[in-house]
């Protein structure tokens, strides 16, 4: 077999060593399970000079989940998250999302950090080098236009398709980052900047993470909300080794016959995972048909699936709405 391009592999065993390695090699890429990055290197999409393997950093591999709080390190494996008793008992949306990723062997390899920072995808991007050169390289690599939206004037529409981000967003998770300037914490949804605004005031499918140079995702954390019910569902063309057509996470609280709180987040549709804005307008009343019509309107407004996969954008957008409706109905009924 043809060898991978040359690179240097760095294997830090502490967070401090990982940050130092990142500082000395600003162009290095971070390696988790390799189920996406190694494929991209193989396809000539990228050729980093150094890879920093984070899976040997023991302090990044821990999972703590109980009735009060959730804290998971970036190097925790997806299979371990899906099978963790605390996650299953108290944060079912996260266990379901983790169990739905790719196939079982991929989940033994893939990590939380890798899934949260998963490279955005597009049918014009996730292709071999010869395919892409035969078709003129696109914006996300070295080309000048987006083949999905040729009039996008520099905006890339590659789609974010990680499953853990929407699940963690509906749990109200925060993310811990470490970097050369120290540590900081922010709501998970602020990590994602792929709003793809045409005035260039935000990131897009090419620049989709709010990480500062040298920053590393260290862990996510969330506080348990008493009475919160949560679930995850997604549609894919086949049940394993496949990226989502659309994925939806829902968390809600019910007070008697009234919807007290609702959070809905999507993946596989936009250049970022979308935490649906405006769901508070559905709360405070019964979950009736007008409430579902308002939910549909929010989805239509904020879910912007483009032709970045083999399934058409309008279909993914419709399915996102269908999945959201179903999950809200199921969780409300309890």
């Amino acid at each position: 077999m043809e060898a991978l391009p040359e690179f240097e592999l760095l294997r830090p065993i502490t967070i401090a060593e990982a940050v130092a390695a990142r500082r000395s090699h600003p162009a290095a890429r971070l390696l988790g399970g390799g189920t996406d990055l190694v494929v991209n290197i193989r396809r000539g999409i990228e050729a980093p000079g150094q890879l920093i393997d984070l899976t040997a950093v023991a302090e990044l591999g821990t999972i703590k989940a109980n009735a009060e709080m959730l804290e998971i390190g970036a190097a925790a494996r997806l299979a371990a998250i899906a099978a963790d008793d605390g996650v299953l008992a108290h944060y079912p949306v996260l266990a379901e999302a983790a169990a739905s990723i790719a196939g079982p062997t991929h989940r033994e390899m893939g990590t939380l950090g890798g899934n949260l920072c998963l490279d955005t995808r597009c049918i014009y991007y996730n292709q071999s080098h010869w395919w892409r050169s035969a078709n003129d390289h696109c914006l996300k690599t070295t080309g000048a236009i987006c083949h999905v939206a040729p009039k996008s004037r520099g905006v890339c529409f590659a789609t974010f398709s990680g499953d853990l981000a929407p699940a963690l967003m509906v749990l109200g998770a925060e993310i811990d980052l470490v970097g050369p300037e120290g540590a900081r914490r922010m709501p998970l949804e602020q990590l994602y900047i792929g709003h793809a605004r045409h005035d260039g005031s935000s990131g897009d499918g090419k620049r989709y993470l709010a990480l500062l140079p040298g920053e590393i995702v260290a862990r996510v954390r969330a506080q348990a909300v008493p009475g919160l019910r949560s679930a995850y569902d997604k549609i894919r063309i086949r049940r394993s080794i496949e990226y989502p057509v659309a994925g939806v996470a829902v968390a809600l609280r019910r007070a008697g016959g009234v919807l007290a709180e609702l959070r809905v987040a999507f993946t596989g549709t936009n250049p970022r995972p979308v935490l649906l804005a405006g769901t508070e307008t559905l709360c405070g009343g019964a979950l009736d048909e007008p409430a579902f019509a308002r939910l549909d309107a929010l989805v239509r407004d904020q879910v912007m699936a483009m032709k970045t996969t083999f399934t058409p954008g309008h279909y993914r957008r419709r399915m996102a709405g269908v999945l959201a409706r179903r999950l809200v109905m199921k969780l409300f009924a309890g």
Binding site: M1, A3, L4, P5, E6, F7, E8, L9, R11, L31, G33, G34, T35, V38, V39, R42, R43, L51, D53, T55, A56, A79, A102, G103, P104, T105, H106, E108, M109, R239, S240, I241
Partner: protein, 160 residues
């Protein structure tokens, strides 16, 4: 860049010089001449290259050899004991779980990983555990029978 890699391969401790960019698959096939592990899609989509690392299945085509430092790697060559087929190998042989055979080493290792973690899996658990492996011949029915048969062989002590 290269380094010395220490690992336990099929039960034997080894120290080998490996390049940083060497994949576990190429280390096994080209370096160790263990060609039982197959190169299929070379992109993590088919599972033909599945091996066990510390008893858990991994895609060797996406794993860097150097990341297996200190680990235990088992390939399909480790299963037979002095010419006697292992339980999973016998299962695939006796229940006709292989047709063209190309996916078989990967499926056998994924099945072996399942039975080490769960000695008595139900059909749904077998289907779920083999979800990263593609077979284009059998239609999977015979493979699932093979794994159930292997579990019985192991339980009765007829095979390991």
């Amino acid at each position: 860049m290269a380094r010395l890699l220490t690992l336990t391969l099929n039960g034997r401790k080894r120290v080998d010089a490996v390049a940083d960019n060497l994949l576990l698959l190429d280390y096994l096939r080209d370096g160790q001449r263990l060609t039982g592990t197959k190169t299929g899609c070379d992109g993590g989509e088919c599972g033909a290259c599945t091996v066990l690392v510390d008893d858990r299945p991994r895609l060797s085509c996406l794993t860097l050899a150097a990341s297996c430092e200190g680990r235990r790697v088992d390939t399909v060559e480790s299963l037979a004991d002095g010419g006697r087929l292992s339980a999973v190998q016998r299962g695939f042989h006796e229940k006709l779980g292989a047709q063209c055979g190309y996916c078989t080493p990967g499926l056998i290792m994924a099945s072996e990983g399942l039975l080490r973690a769960n000695p008595d899996p139900g059909e749904a658990e077998i289907r779920a555990a083999l979800g990263s492996n593609i077979c284009r011949c059998t239609g999977y029915v015979k493979i699932i029978e093979a794994v159930r048969h292997a579990a019985r062989l192991k339980a009765s002590g007829e095979a390991r």
